[in-house]
């Protein structure tokens, strides 16, 4: 694990992990994400990409959640590493 500058969540590829650093400012979206357990510090993995390239499916806290590119880019992560297969 190596520290990198903050990057948007949607920059991650399938099989890559990150730690959430900041959530979007939009209060509604933030509330909805928080309700699913996404808060700063949560570990998140990209599991799948939709056939059309958007949205992506993210795995965190035991559930698989689809997020659109435009929403995921407002979520910043601080670490990035590949999951061992």
């Amino acid at each position: 694990m190596r520290a990198t500058p903050l990057i948007p969540l949607d920059a991650l590829d399938t099989g890559e992990c990150g730690t959430i650093c900041t959530l979007p400012d939009n209060p509604e979206l933030r509330r909805r994400l928080t309700a699913l357990g996404l808060i700063p510090g949560t570990k998140i993995t990209v599991v799948n990409i939709s056939p059309a390239g958007d949205p992506k499916a993210y795995f965190f806290r035991g559930s698989l959640i689809a997020l659109r590119h435009k929403d995921a880019q407002k979520i910043l992560i601080k670490n990035r590493w590949a999951v061992e297969q």
């Binding site: 056939p51 689809a66 997020l67 659109r68």
Partner: protein, 691 residues
């Protein structure tokens, strides 16, 4: 609690809350013996259902709340759940949680426990969790939450007796629950305490109310809803609290973060993972179902398989039923002639009523009876959210919500359900677009019409083993067309009268679950198919009688019905249909299932043939009445795109409370259908002239 003096029963009110996809409806059905349809996808329970069950000397009135992830009241669903818990003051809250993804579920549990600790947690799907080697410690969990925790597998009925016992204990007070506080930090706690002291005596959920009052928004509305007087004392306390928290900009966010952290703590303390990669199987299925190369082809293939089975499986019963009705009609005819009954009356009774009923049952019932259970199996397996995932980008481009894909799917079952299902969509603009375009999904009542037209007309020249396959492929084509139209109209709406940006999508892709084949098939046959058929029969009998009355009453040598059909025939011809068919569509407003049977009855009353026993005969009846391939195509287009049935219109009105929008929902698909049919008809005729 109240007491029914007549029956000497204590009556308790209970609510069933929980995340979507945790088997809440299964628990509800198992407890109450009711048959609410369950499904493995978010937003299945959109209408709160109510049922009863008895335990010892008490009767419970159980309300099934919509599945939600939070009580933020962002969507109408969440609002309903929150209001039932906060203002309904239930004697017991049963929170259903998925034992295999407890961490996320704990969020809602902690939110609910903050409002009331008169609760029981039901750790459902424990069998599935054990299979994944996820072992929750329910005793420890119960200690940490302060309420009883019962493990259960509602599908097989395991643990439900313990659940009712615990619910009874909590409701009557024999089980003492403790309020466990989430610590939000010194400042928030001090501020909340200040408000608690100023709240009136005897108020329920004081701590929760004071925490909610820390939010600067909607304070007065919130107080009004809780019937709390805004006394100077309270006003003072709130001002004080605001001062304490002046440095924090979003208290709600702090609260929900704290709850997430607390959930994590509890989860880590109470759940043992013996196998860290427990969801490997799901990941590999997803790799096939949603990958770039195979996602869309598999989706189409699955659809094609469903249709293929429907066409093949419906063919034989359809013929048997048709032959049975012919037999019944012949016997009746003999009986009538034995009685020397009036020719007019026997025509109305036999050709009109029994004939229409016969074609509803023989043409429409078999495809419905095969399609609906298959569709339910797909629903239960957890595949439908994957379809939404695969198609979302197109919905995004059309300016709509990704969950519209889900409501669209519901529409393939029933448009009224689809329109109600739009409650899962959070913003009003997108909800309206989804509801307006829902009717473009041909429902279960329209599929048989499409199947009959395709089998009798479009694929009849193809040799038999390939025929059903070609039919299935054509139906897939119709579905693709309907999705395309639905997207195009959504785009049009979001560019014009419902302008706006698409909101964000947060869509759970639930774990795949092996559907319970037998139960799903029996249930969807017994509940859905028969109830839909019942409605069709109720409409078909009077419609059959009225039409045969009109067809057998002659004014200056012509039947009344021919005056009607001749009158609208010129218009119908322009859009590639004929007067009879358009009349049938109009008369089919109460139930789409009777469109084709009615058209057949009118055709038959005009001609020499009185009966049909197979699809081949259907073909000759239609050709004898001037049908061409173009008529068949236009009839199919109009079947996909015309006014919603009366039930769907009524549902739309109930959901929007606006006559204006209901009229829009009526006109929009009708106009689209007329325009498309007009275009197809004109282009085809021009081509024919040119060639």
């Amino acid at each position: 609690m109240s007491i029914d003096t007549k029956k000497q029963y204590r009556i308790f009110s209970a609510v069933l809350a929980g995340n979507p996809n945790v088997g809440k409806s299964t628990v509800f059905n198992a407890l109450t013996g009711m048959k609410q349809h369950t499904g493995n996808w978010p937003g299945k329970t959109v209408v709160t259902a109510e049922g009863h069950f008895r335990y010892k000397d008490s009767e419970f009135v159980l309300t099934d709340l919509p599945g939600t992830y939070s009580l933020n009241a962002d969507s109408p669903d969440e609002e309903a759940a929150k209001e039932a818990i906060l203002y309904g003051h239930p004697d017991c809250i049963i929170v259903v949680a998925d034992a295999s993804s407890l961490e996320r579920n704990l969020n809602l549990i902690l939110h609910i426990l903050e409002i009331s600790s008169k609760a029981v947690v039901c750790l459902n799907l424990i069998d599935e969790a054990h299979k994944k080697k996820i072992i929750p410690d329910s005793r420890k969990l119960s200690l940490m939450l302060g309420v009883p925790v019962i493990t259960a597998a509602a599908r097989s009925g395991k643990g439900l007796d313990k659940l009712t016992a615990a619910a009874y204990g909590v409701a009557c007070g024999s089980i003492k629950t403790t309020e466990v506080k989430n610590n939000y930090g010194t400042d928030t706690e001090t501020a909340a305490d200040t408000i608690i002291n100023a709240l009136p005596e005897g108020l329920n959920s004081k701590r929760f109310i004071s925490l909610e009052l820390l939010n600067k928004q909607n304070r007065t509305e919130f107080l009004e809803k809780n019937n709390i007087l805004f006394t100077p004392e309270l006003k003072n306390a709130i001002e004080k609290a605001d001062k304490i928290l002046s440095e924090y900009d979003d208290i709600e966010y702090i609260r929900s973060q704290t709850i997430v952290k607390r959930s994590e703590e509890i989860y880590n303390a109470c759940v043992y993972l013996e196998n860290k990669s427990y969801n490997k199987r799901d990941r590999s299925i997803d790799k096939i179902m949603t990958s770039k190369r195979t996602g869309i082809p598999i989706m189409l293939l699955l659809l094609a398989i469903v249709f293929y089975i429907t066409i093949v499986g419906a063919n034989y019963p359809s013929q048997w039923l048709a032959q049975l009705f012919v037999l019944v009609e012949d016997k009746l005819r003999e009986l009538f002639s034995m009685w020397n009954a009036n020719e007019f009356i026997s025509r109305i009774f036999i050709d009109g009523m029994v004939g229409t009923l016969g074609s509803v049952v023989s043409v429409m019932l078999p495809p419905m009876a095969v399609f609906f259970p298959l569709f339910s199996l797909l629903e239960d397996s957890g595949y439908l959210p994957r379809v939404a995932f695969n198609l979302d980008k197109y919905f995004y481009r059309s300016g709509t919500h990704g969950k519209q894909a889900l409501t669209m799917m519901m529409g393939f079952g029933c448009n009224a359900c689809g329109i109600t299902g739009c409650r899962i969509i959070e913003t009003e603009r997108e909800r309206r677009i989804a509801a307006l375009t829902n009717n473009f999904s041909p429902c279960n009542g329209r599929f048989p019409t499409l199947i009959a037209i395709i089998s009798a007309f479009l694929v009849c020249g193809i040799p038999s083993p390939l025929r059903s396959f070609a039919g299935a492929a054509m139906l897939v084509g119709v579905i693709i067309l309907s999705i395309f139209i639905s997207l195009a109209i959504s785009k049009l709406l979001s560019l014009t009268i419902l302008k706006g940006e698409p909101s964000s999508l947060v869509l759970e892709l639930p774990p795949y679950r092996r559907p319970q084949f037998f139960r799903t098939i029996v249930r969807s046959l017994a509940d859905k198919t028969l109830s839909v058929l019942g409605r069709a029969v109720i409409v078909a009998i009077p419609a059959g009688i009225i039409i045969s009355l009109l067809a057998n009453t002659f004014i200056s040598g012509k039947s009344i019905i021919s005056y009607v059909t001749n009158f609208i025939d010129p218009f119908a011809q322009i859009i590639g249909l004929d007067g009879v068919l358009l009349t049938a569509f109009i008369l089919g407003f109460p139930a789409n299932e009777i469109v084709l049977p009615i058209a057949l009855m009118i055709y038959l009353s005009n001609g020499t043939m009185t009966d049909y026993e197979s699809l081949e005969q259907l073909h000759s009846i239609l050709t004898a009445n001037g049908w061409t391939t173009i008529t068949a195509i236009c009839a199919m287009i109009f079947t996909v795109m015309h006014f919603p049935c009366s039930t769907a219109c009524l549902t739309f009105y109930k959901e929007t409370k606006s006559i204006k929008w209901t009229i829009a929902a009526f006109l929009l698909p009708t106009l689209c259908g007329i325009i498309c049919c007009l275009l197809v008809n004109t282009i085809c005729h021009c081509l024919m002239i040119l060639l």
